[in-house]
């Protein structure tokens, strides 16, 4: 294989060529109510060639492994057709490596019957809970191996398994339908989704309680976010803005994102780190062969770094950070986050609450989205806070903010960092990419909340 690839890369009129191959086997299960509606397996083999010539990119993806040389020629031809751009690439040395990964219990080797047994059990817990009308469970595990090779002489094989599980309980009553959910994920480790009976029971209980939860009046509130929702906030509110492909060609945005600009209080530290073992966003090399790294984005409230591909790094005169990722071989790598989190501070959750006269405590998530400046994210659970006490449950809330003011409005950071492995990130039509995010409890002043 290696020789075949090296051969296909030779002799093209291009400044740089890279090849990705991928082989994956996945198993998916979907429960809807008391039925295992879907159980299926998928097996995929394919690859792509990306070429840089005359300052522009060509990209060709294909099924199977055949006709590599012609595919390389097609990508080069496309790049030359685009031509006349000013794309360039940070130089990098050749890397030859083979990276394997052994989860404690590899999901793809667990018998189908055992997977079903575990999920049946969770489903039964939900369906036997009071007030529950239905359930929805989505399970997927992927065993994926990739090969990356480029015209610099790199050749990297990596094993990249992934597992995701979303469990939702749907309650109905009082003329209403409400849902609550739980999202989990791991780097292919099945043990991470075992033993969740209590959490699943709690999801069902929450869905039922939401039927009777009043809606908050919209407006500005002091809001305390739990680690899960604060992680989503970190990802949406700041993470995406630190992806340099949004920034590098925009003069105004570059000025706005000048390193050294203050975004928050000196207690605020935001990190993207691909090197933490076992997290869903972790890897040894990104999809351009650059080693994954720990990058401080905000240190003591000040913008100190950003996420790069080899192209954005060269264009901004900074070092690549190993954040070029593609969800699969059908897409070229773009700048993405890995594991993004707020580092712990010194406040306790109790202290954070005690200073609030009237506010909201929000937990867990439905989703989040950003336009860079404006972001929104929605809570799975929300409670009124009065005089330092968490009181009645509210129906789910959509929160919004402006990155330039909201980060500065964080006035307390907890000491209880937790990473959340559920969900996935979408950008440029590539979704869901395995990432994780996290935070301790945080408190935000003047946060805009939508409501009645």
């Amino acid at each position: 294989m290696r020789e075949q690839i090296a051969d296909a890369l030779k002799g093209h009129e291009a400044d740089y060529i890279e090849i990705h191959f991928e082989q994956s086997q996945s198993t998916g299960m979907v429960y809807q109510g008391n039925r295992l509606e879907e159980i299926g397996r998928t097996s995929v083999r394919g690859g792509n060639v990306r070429a840089l010539a005359r300052g522009s990119w060509g990209f060709a993806s294909f099924d199977g492994f055949d006709g590599l040389r012609e595919k390389a020629a097609l990508a080069v031809m496309e790049a030359r057709l685009a031509g006349g751009g000013d794309a360039w690439f940070s130089p990098a040395g050749a890397v030859v490596d083979k990276v394997s990964w052994s989860p404690r219990k590899y999901a793809s080797s667990v018998m189908l019957a055992s997977k079903k047994q575990l999920l049946d059990n969770y489903n039964d817990i939900i369906l036997s809970s009071p007030g529950i009308q239905s359930s929805a469970i989505n399970y997927r595990d992927v065993q994926r191996t990739t090969i990356f090779a480029n015209s610099d002489g790199s050749y990297i094989e990596q094993e990249k398994p992934d597992l995701s599980l979303r469990i939702a309980a749907i309650a109905s009553g009082a003329g209403k339908v409400r849902q609550a959910g739980l999202s989990l994920g791991s780097r292919g480790d099945f043990t991470e989704i075992e033993g969740l009976d209590d959490q699943v029971r709690d999801v069902a209980r929450r869905a039922e309680a939401l039927l009777y939860a009043p809606q908050l009046k919209g407006g500005e509130y002091t809001v305390v976010l739990d680690p899960v929702l604060a992680g989503v906030f970190t990802h949406e509110a700041f993470g995406h803005l630190s992806e340099s492909d949004f920034v590098y060609q925009n003069k105004e945005l570059r000025q706005l994102m000048t390193l050294g600009r203050r975004f928050g209080d000196k207690g605020l530290n935001i990190v993207d780190d691909a090197t933490i073992p076992g997290l869903r966003g972790s890897y040894k090399y990104d999809d351009e062969g650059t080693p994954g790294a720990k990058t401080y984005l905000i240190h003591e409230g000040i913008l100190v770094g950003r996420l790069h591909s080899r192209e954005t790094a060269s264009r901004m005169g900074e070092a690549p950070t190993g954040n070029a990722r593609a969800i699969n071989y059908l897409f070229p790598p773009i700048v993405r986050m890995t594991n993004t989190f707020i580092e712990p501070g010194g406040s306790s959750f109790a202290d954070m609450l005690s200073e609030i006269k009237e506010g909201v405590y929000v937990k867990d998530w439905y989703g989040g989205m950003t336009s860079l400046e404006m972001f929104t994210f929605s809570s799975g659970e929300a409670y009124m806070v009065r005089n330092g006490k968490v009181e009645e449950l509210l129906s789910s809330l959509v929160l919004t903010g402006n990155v330039f003011t909201t980060l500065a409005n964080i006035d307390a950071i907890g000491d209880d960092l937790e990473m959340n492995q559920g969900g996935g990130c979408g950008k440029g039509g590539q979704s869901p990419l395995p990432v994780s995010n996290g935070s301790p409890h945080i408190r935000i002043q003047h946060c805009l909340v939508g409501g009645k």
């Binding site: 397996r41 522009s56 989703g367 989040g368 336009s371």
Partner: protein
Amino acid sequence: MEGLLSRAKMKVQQAEVFSVSSRETTVHFEANQLKQVHSKESVMKVLRIMKDGRIGLAAGNGTGDSAALLDMAIETSQFGIPVDFQFPALGSYPEVDTFDSRVEKIATERMIELGRELVSRVSGHSPRLLCDAEIVKSMHTIGIANSQGCRMSYNKSIFAMGVEGMLVKDTDMLFVGEDESSCRLSAGVDILVERVIRQLDLAARSAAVSTKVLPVVFTPHAIASAFMVPLSSAFNGKLVHEGASALKGKLGNQVFDRKLSLWDDATVEYGVGSRPCDDEGVPSQRISLIDKGVVSHFLYDLHTAALAGTRSTGNGGRGGGGFPKPDPTSLIIGEGDVSLESMVAGMKEGLVVEHLIGGGQGDALSGDFGGNVLLGYKVENGEMIGRVKDTMVAGNVYRDLREIVLGDKARWVGGSLRTPWIYCPRISVSAKGS
């Protein structure tokens, strides 16, 4: 396909092969410049079987051998859901236009020219605007064959153009954008350019809104992101059967404003979702979902229909692979008789919402919608006076679509929804600093 089917027939009671082969070319502009030309070629083959009354499924991208696919499908069928329905025999299918040979023939060079024209005309209007744009053509061959005699195959072409502009001034970011897609080759970039320039002009000034209940006009884009997520779930036959849809038991009931009619039409000329049959081989048709405010039908695939004791509406969609699900094709909201101008002219104070972000993040089953107004205009005394920021809208389709006014001109959004502007008299608006 035939080989796999006859091999399967020896081991299982029923079998079905669904296949999609696609070729796609994209020219991608970034920051006003042509950045990348991108081509994709893929084949997806999905085998669905019924063995001992249970369903099994395996998918591959056309590179694996069919014996392995059959083994995987049989393995999953041991745990598959017990089913009691038959794959359809060869049916009689409506003639539906889904292919334009001009899309197949358009050269990449011509697509580059269209992109350049789009970007230069839009950025020419606002010199500091940076545009990303994409021109995409794709050709698909979709095949459905099953052991009951269905052999159906059709071609589909899709041509899409889109542009997004970003203007940064200090810490203020303005986003504008438009896109269109169809099975037919576009007549040119004029309409897209006009629409984006109108957005830029309306957003040139800024205006403030305070937290209160206001009349709001939702443009087709905003309708797609605010109302369609809750509505699509509500009419999904599977969620109705489960009792997870708030419309369960509401067939024949007046739930929405009498002026509101919504239907799904898989036969609409050159619609991106159009097709002669669905992804299970069931003939396409137009299905009324809301008829003058009355809930009139839900969307079903074969399996869901069997569970609910009804017939498939031809809405089995597989999103390119996997299990079929009840999915809309082209959702269409009937036009009303009020022009956008008079809607706005009648407002003393209100809001026109063009783009929303986070619209699908609420609890869709409850009918809630809401989001941040990415692009929207304040209305004062009948005139759009400027762009609002740091503003949210929130509502519920079951409450806020009971009393509406519909615009007199419908347009397509993203190739999957055709709708006029919709005026809602009382929407809760929250704004920063109030």
